[in-house]
Amino acid sequence: MNTVTTDGTFAHPALFYRSEGEYADRTVTFVREGLATGEPVAVAVPAPNLELIRAGLGTDARDVSFLDMTEAGRNPGRIIPRVLRAFADAHAHGRVRIIGEPVWAGRSAAEYPACAQHEALINAAFKGRSATILCPYDETRLDADVLADALVTHPTVISDGRQRASGAYDWRAVVARYNEPLRPAPDADVIAFGAGQLPDARRFAVGRAASLGLDERRLPDAELAVAELTTNSVVHGGGHGTLAIWADAGQVVCEVRDPGRLTDPLAGRRPPEHGQVGGRGLLLVHYVADLVRVHTSDEGTTVRFYLGL
């Protein structure tokens, strides 16, 4: 397996694996290659896989940053700013090496489109940067469609230990395909808002979220996220919108729609500059929510976020 590339170029291989043994072998080799050349290395994968890599590395594990992706990357939309860019930016002077496993068996049907878009957008977010991000895919447990998407979101793929270019690579196609229309649940509570009703919309959301059972410690997050989305609608999205809120499968779901169009696919995924004043609203929503889904078209934009009860 040769994943070493020259500096200034971004490498983003998918690693298809079929067993724990194969997973451990290939990821540990990848980490050791990085350590041998002095590259900072981070591993962000689900906890059981973290243990496989840790065990395989032995004492070398102390030189590696580990993150449980089911926590850090529960919302796929925050992986680029909070996990990948956070690590790369903290080691900005050389090449970095990261294992990121955002897609695992058990990701829900609501989560998967956001996972696929996240994988696609890594290519845009890291274009021209000195980094290698290896994304493992469990060939035995993931759907064929998911594996097919991985060939579209990754310029190279490692399978049976051999790396090859992916002929299907076309990340924009995956961003577009999972730009799926979103509709509020039939039992949702809905309120319309304009500039004069921002506090009303916020209070409505907090009241409904509380009565739907959202833990009071998460209510300030719900209030913040609703404030940022409704403010975006008023300032950038045509001046008005509607807010819907309901409960679904153990989560509170909040959705804001407005007549604007979101033209920047990386909106809300770029970490802000330290002293930057604006542009943190959507980022905040990604940071606090368990999942964010977005649909945007000429007819308008819908941003939906989920908070676990």
Binding site: P220, L224, L284, V288
Partner: protein
């Protein structure tokens, strides 16, 4: 006390959001009540500018009467604090969003000290 609506007009018309902000008596800093959001941003930022102009060692920002502050409101405070030549800003009794946003975006901003509710 200074209360402004979105266009500087009467505060309770149209915006729905009100912020009253003015200097503290007896110590350096400001006291605010109402909410800090897009419609009240101008008066919040004006007060912060005033705070930084008068800042010496420690300035206080008393927020016990503030029900809500959004990300841009916390950002304005953080940027004000970062641009001070020295010293610190003590934020008293802020709404829960303030420490939350600081933790998410400026986890190591030691120049702001939060005295919770």
């Amino acid at each position: 006390m200074d209360a402004t609506g979105p266009t500087g007009g009467p505060p309770r018309l149209r915006s729905g959001a009100v912020l009253e902000v003015g200097p503290l008596s007896g110590r350096p800093g400001i006291r605010a009540s109402g909410e800090i959001s897009v419609t009240t941003r101008a008066s919040w930022e004006k007060a912060l500018t005033e705070l930084s102009r008068r800042h010496a060692e420690v300035s206080y920002v008393e927020l016990s009467g503030v029900r809500f502050v959004d990300v841009a409101g916390v950002t304005a405070l953080a940027v004000t604090a970062m641009n001070l030549p020295g010293g610190r800003v003590v934020v008293e009794q802020p709404p829960p969003q303030l420490p939350r946003v600081l933790e998410l975006f400026w986890p190591s901003l030691h120049r702001i000290e939060v005295a919770p509710r």
